[in-house]
């Protein structure tokens, strides 16, 4: 099976962000970047499919400036066979523009399965995968936690609150990956060495027209620090008073 996984380079979210000088981007100084979490699960799921079948190819695709090559190499150090960079130096915020470029690339690849993360962990639009499916006219199953194949069909499981759905559709298809499908492997040094020699192709991204622009970024207002009212049941009256008078929620 030939699988494509679209991966996004995102900053590590466990740090405090600063807005850059332009006011429309994040100050990248001191930030560390990595594969977006859900995309990492997708790469792992793809590798497991390939390993189980002992056949096939896993191709990773990323759109962005040259620094995405690092992200692509990481996916290859996990085991992806080759990579495609759709080069575009300025950040793109419009999901549709991105989806257009990805769809153009994917349409020429002859893939049986295309995987996306359920959402990126930075902008969290949950849109790209679905748009690509629409542009290519392929079936899509979103936010799946389990994946199986049966003949020419893909069978997927979606988690709902307190229950789940099993959905199947014919291949080729698109899926977006939720947590729980697979824990991404840690690249071994052997993998890192091998990744240096794997093919990474760079092409200009044919991004579509951007129908919206980003005007301004702002950090959420600082939250007031928490307060310890007391301990044990003696603290309850004071807590109730504060909830009533200060927080005004009771």
């Amino acid at each position: 099976m030939k699988i494509a996984v679209c991966i996004k380079r995102v900053p590590d979210m466990d740090v405090r962000f600063k807005i850059g000088a332009t006011g429309t981007s994040v100050d990248e100084a001191g930030l560390k970047f990595d594969i977006s979490d859900f995309d990492g699960y997708a790469v792992e799921a793809a590798l497991q499919i390939k390993e189980k079948a002992n056949a096939g190819e896993v191709v990773v695709i990323s759109l962005g400036a040259d620094n995405v090559q690092e992200t692509l190499r990481k996916a290859m150090s996990m085991g992806a066979d080759r990579a495609v960079q759709l080069k575009h130096d300025a950040p793109v915020f419009d999901s549709f523009a991105i989806a257009t470029a990805l769809a153009a690339e994917i349409s020429t690849g002859g893939y049986d399965l295309v995987m996306f993360g359920r959402m990126s962990i930075d902008t969290a639009n949950q849109a790209t995968g679905t748009m690509v499916a629409e542009l290519l006219g392929l079936p899509i199953i979103t936010a799946i936690s389990k994946l199986d194949f049966d003949g020419g069909k893909v069978k997927a499981r979606r988690e709902l609150e307190g229950s789940y759905e099993l959905i199947e559709c014919p291949l080729p298809a698109i899926v977006t990956i939720d947590e729980g499908i697979a824990r991404p492997r840690y690249p071994s040094l052997k993998g890192i060495m091998a990744a240096k020699k794997k093919p990474l192709e760079t092409k200009p991204a044919q991004i579509g027209e951007q129908s919206y622009t980003l005007d301004k970024m702002e950090l959420p207002a600082e939250r007031a620090a928490g307060r310890i009212v007391g301990e044990g049941k003696d603290a309850v009256p004071e807590l109730v008073r504060l909830l009533k008078e200060e927080a005004k929620v009771l």
Binding site: R183, R185, Y186, P187
Partner: protein, 670 residues
């Protein structure tokens, strides 16, 4: 030349030839290992170790019962070997002995020693047999060892001594004129018991005993290479070639060349280990001293350092003996003999290395195998993943914002190196805070305390603030050399950017890593642990403290950190610092302290792994500390602090755990 001498000469030459062939085989087996060029430097230290640990049996004496017993056999063997040489030459050249070649008193001394030491050896062998058969010493009873071999060897040694006395005694009975009661008093005593024999009968008995002795000697020589008593041959060279007591720093892991085109990362099989590790396998006596002090083993985990060494030897033999290597290819040392679970149980405490009487380095085998697991196969406990990722992403094994690294210092008026450099100033020392000291709430109190001491003492110091990163020790000890080198190189770059020379740190892991292992990557600094630093400030009278000479006497016990103690021999400074700060304090020692100290359980990356099998190591240690009756436990390491404080708290004991810096800072004049 009699027919007997001819026959003996033939047997002797064959036996020697066979022995030489065996030694050559063993050397060939060692050559299956990787090259290791760190074994011939600093010959004076090596000769020193050879004398101290080898000849004078320093480490053997760490066990007060087995020590003298083994030393008697060992020294006896050395002295009796001279007699055996005389004996063997005499077997080839009729009538040969050393007497004509030495002045009388020297020969008399030689002969007397033969007699006396042979008797001592018999006594020691008797004691050893008694211990093995009746006392059932725990470390000697274990499935992984070869239990019958020692019994055979001990009986063999006893027979050698008995036949020696027999041929000496019967010689005296057969030729009463040659009797030398003063030179061989014990043989003489035996001769007296047989004085009723006729000279001709005694002569026959002498010949029988002589032949028995001769065959036993040659047989013994050739049995050794097939037995665990190969250590008789291998241990002295091993002590000489070992680096575990120097040359160089102890406990230092070898750097991997990550640029080179390595086929195997770390070690998967014996052929990936250094030849010296293979020699370690030959030298292991299966005495079990290492396993009996291993914190993992003694709290019920699967790991036994003795088994690791026995496995190295077993695997080497099975590999070397197989004519067709493909038949033994799938039972590699890793997985085929040693499991992942064993390897991940190790705290890298170094107790095994410290205890081994023949300077074996069990730990480096464990670390090489871990490297293969992580670098080659990406196999490690799932809990470790976040630590690896965070070290890579945020420069700390915990997911804290790197920007908060210097937060503890807010309002303390402590400059960063960057600020100092901007003003064109240089600090006396750089305070390397470490990840625990920067982010862990409990450890931050120590950090602040140490900073206060330095400020009060007028030490001009700076911190790196958010430019500091994890030194990489947890990654390295967990086998992730790649991540380690990444972090270490980043740090070296930062330190060199500021031209840093002297570093103080309150973390023994940072201390060991930066001071002893960064030089491998080109980072050379003088690193001082805060216990030594505080102690010298106190000694110089630079710290303004109140020394209360009255008031309640507190009882402290001090828990040694492995990386400070065993790795770097810092035992006295923290204790001295405590005594100077609290002159009327009562310092009690735990049964396992200083170089016998029990690990807290956090080293070797164990801090980041779950401990589900057996008793928790920190509980074992806390119980030992509480049993001293101390009302406070002092530590000098943030990892020890966490481990000790957690288990003391969980036992609801009304005992405080302090870092020594906190104790000293507590006495600072307001």
């Amino acid at each position: 030349m009699s027919a007997g001498h001819v026959l003996f000469t033939i047997i002797f030459v064959c036996a020697l030839g066979f022995f030489a062939a065996n030694i050559q085989r063993l050397i060939g087996e060692l050559q299956l290992g990787r090259t290791d060029d760190s074994r011939w430097n600093d010959l004076p230290t090596r000769f020193g170790n050879f004398l101290r640990i080898g000849i004078f049996q320093e480490k053997i004496f760490r066990d007060s019962i087995a020590g003298p017993m083994h030393a008697a056999i060992f020294w006896g063997f050395g002295i009796l070997t001279l007699g055996t040489i005389e004996f063997l030459i005499g077997g080839v050249i009729p009538g040969f002995n050393f007497q004509p070649y030495f002045i009388a008193p020297v020969y008399a001394f030689f002969a007397l020693n033969q007699d006396v030491w042979a008797a001592l050896v018999i006594a020691a062998v008797g004691m050893a047999l008694f211990r093995r058969l009746t006392k059932r010493v725990k470390r000697l009873q274990c499935a992984e060892t070869h239990p019958n071999d020692p019994l055979l060897i001990l009986s063999w040694i006893a027979s050698l001594m008995i036949t020696m006395f027999a041929y000496e005694a019967f010689e005296m009975v057969a030729h009463p004129d040659t009797m030398t009661p003063m030179l061989r008093p014990i043989s003489f005593g035996v001769a007296m018991a047989f004085s009723w024999m006729s000279p001709s009968a005694a002569s026959v008995a002498h010949d029988l005993a002589w032949w028995a002795h001769g065959l036993l000697v040659l047989g013994f020589l050739n049995y050794l290479p097939y037995s665990k008593h190969l250590h008789v041959v291998a241990s002295l060279p091993n002590v000489f070639l070992s680096n575990t007591s120097g040359p160089g720093q102890k406990g230092v892991m070898k750097a991997m060349d990550l640029e080179g085109d390595l086929e195997v990362f770390g070690a998967k099989d014996v052929t990936d280990l250094s030849w010296k590790s293979l020699l370690d396998g030959f030298a292991c006596t299966e005495c079990g001293r290492c396993t009996s002090v291993c914190p993992a083993h003694t709290t019920g985990k699967l790991l036994s350092p003795r088994k690791i060494m026995i496995n190295v030897r077993e695997r080497l033999e099975s590999y070397a003996h197989a004519a067709d290597k493909s038949t033994v290819a799938d039972r590699t040392l890793l997985d085929g003999y040693i499991t992942e679970e064993e390897l991940w149980s190790c705290t890298s405490c170094g107790a095994c290395v410290q205890e081994c009487p023949v300077s074996i380095d069990q730990l480096s085998v464990i670390m090489e195998l871990r490297r293969n697991l992580v670098l080659g196969e990406s196999r490690f406990p799932a809990e470790v993943m976040p630590a690896f990722e965070s070290m890579e992403q945020r420069g700390s094994p915990w997911a804290f914002d790197p920007g908060d690294r210097g937060k503890w210092a807010e309002g303390m008026n402590i400059p960063t190196m960057a600020e100092m450099a901007e003003r064109g100033e240089r600090p006396e020392v750089l305070y390397w805070v470490g990840c625990m000291g920067s982010f862990d709430d409990r450890a931050k109190k120590t950090t602040v305390a140490f900073a206060q001491i330095m400020q009060a003492s007028g030490v001009k110091f700076a911190i790196l603030g958010q430019e500091e990163k994890c030194n990489g020790d947890p990654a390295r000890r967990m086998g992730n050399e790649y991540l380690y080198q990444m972090l270490a190189k980043d740090n070296i770059e930062t330190l060199d950017k500021y031209g840093v020379r002297t570093i103080v740190t309150a973390c023994p892991h940072c201390f060991h890593q930066i001071g002893n292992e960064f030089p491998q990557l080109g980072g050379n600094y003088d690193v001082v642990h805060h216990s030594t630093f505080i102690e010298s400030l106190l000694e110089q009278g630079r710290v303004p403290i109140v020394q209360e000479l009255h008031g309640p006497v507190r009882t402290f016990t001090y828990h040694d950190s492995c990386y400070l103690g065993r790795y770097n021999d810092v035992y006295d400074a923290p204790r001295e610092a405590l005594r100077r700060a609290l002159p009327v304090m009562n310092l009690v020692e735990m049964p396992r302290s200083k170089d016998k100290g029990l690990c807290c359980g956090a080293g070797g990356g164990r801090m980041f792994m779950e401990e589900t099998v057996g008793k928790r190591i920190n509980v074992e240690r806390a119980e030992e500390a509480l049993a001293t009756g101390a009302d406070a436990i002092a530590v000098a390491c943030p990892f020890c602090m966490t481990m000790m404080a957690d288990s003391v708290k969980s036992r609801n004991a009304n005992v405080e755990v302090y870092d020594i810096a906190e104790v000293v800072a507590g006495q600072l004049r307001a």
